[in-house]
Symmetry: C2
Subunit: 253 residues, 2 copies
């Protein structure tokens, strides 16, 4: 996974643990694959293997949704697909806007995994006037000026931010003011949002840094124990933090 939730106060919604919710899409994917193969039923053991989780965990997860299995047999694939889809809210259509149509934003617009799960890209928005009208993934890019109108006209409640870090908070504020209550943030910034607004963050460089940590540990300990700690004045030289700024990540204090 990437970097997970942002300060959700563990608000176990209707008794379904957050950790369980995060796994439901995983189960759904495995079940969908089974459905395509016309597999009628599946045991918790098999499904758990396909989803890469413990079978006891899977059974407990499902128990939060209800008793949908049959002892001695397993789970009805089609039925479970429906139940999980409904629980996740995928039986309805979710219009989504993507703000910031750079490399990443364009890739997201082209990403098939959205539309296939009931998420409809209602609009692409960018601050660059030169982009306006230019079609990306078959959808014409609109200018940031019209953001509020776009949100309102399309009844958008989910926004995706793929802008540079410097613009993210401002875009976020406008999205929230216009009525968006769920945000998927790809910009490397901590977003401040009012209560009632959900933010999930995907940070590519953070994922790599976590991998690097474990990688170092695996490679580790034999070469260079790096004994003498440098003084406070010593600056590391390898990690020159380049452009691509997270400049506005810190408040003026």
């Amino acid at each position: 996974m990437a970097t997970g939730r942002t300060h959700r106060p563990a608000t176990r919604s209707r008794g379904i643990p957050e950790a369980t919710v995060a796994r439901l899409p995983l189960y759904l994917r495995a079940l969908t694959a089974l459905s395509e193969r016309s597999v009628p039923t599946v045991s918790s053991e098999e499904l758990a293997a396909a989803a890469g989780v413990n079978s006891a965990k899977l059974r407990k997860d499902f128990s939060y949704l209800g008793s949908y299995g049959t002892r001695g047999v397993g789970y009805d694939v089609e039925y479970l697909v429906y139940q999980i889809s409904r629980e996740l809210g995928l039986t309805q259509d979710w219009p989504v806007v993507i703000v910031g149509i750079g490399n990443l934003g364009a890739a997201l617009a082209n990403y098939g995994g959205f539309a296939s799960r009931g998420f409809r890209v209602a609009a692409l928005i960018d601050a660059d006037p030169a982009m306006a009208g230019k079609p990306v993934a078959g959808i014409p890019v609109q200018h940031t000026d019209d953001l509020e109108k776009i949100i309102e006209d399309n009844g958008v409640s989910i926004g995706v931010i793929a802008t540079p870090a410097g613009a993210a908070q401002q875009v976020c504020d406008r999205l929230v003011a216009a009525g968006v209550t769920s945000i998927l943030n790809f910009a490397p910034t901590v977003l401040a949002v009012p209560d009632g607004v959900d933010v999930r963050k995907v940070d590519l460089s953070i994922e790599l840094q976590i991998l690097a940590f474990h990688e170092q540990r695996k490679a580790g300990e034999e070469a260079g124990p790096d004994g003498a700690a440098p003084t406070a004045a010593t600056r590391k030289e390898s990690t020159d933090q380049g452009p691509e700024g997270d400049v506005p990540a810190v408040m003026p204090a």
Copy 2:
């Protein structure tokens, strides 16, 4: 966040909790921003606010690294930047290969956040012969046939998979066989890897599904309680699982 770790057995490396490791890049980013502003010291309260976490949590996190603060004053920014960078392994250069240069792969290749953190894109690899030699982000794409040689020649230990789901496991196997021990997976598939190999998964559609769940709950309960549960034969119609297949996500059982 995206979808986090995959089946790491909570192997608290050298006493540093996994949850703490996941936050270190966050602190590092906030600290780097402070460093650029030439702020000399910062209190746990200020830094916690900038990173969007609890100050007690931040102090406990830092306590795992050592006693780097000064009571009554706070933390030396430069010193802390160095210590965290070293702990994360960012003081060394990490050559990375990206496999699968489609929309997403190309966006990743162009992403500035990698190079700025000590991650160097050593090679771009794609299975399409038509892509071979074509430069993306200034780097010529190479064919999958040369994957093993590329890994070996460049001493790559971190691989990024941005292929379609159907190709992911196969690419993963080849990467691992060639010596890669850390994988960042963007393909919507559960990857099977031998012990000792770390996999982190970033799944865009899963993030949206989690948001949709909470969104449904927020919008919730007033409209359509949807009482009568459909029979097992009833198939939901809205979420027609389209193309963009996660076909090979499930084993033949």
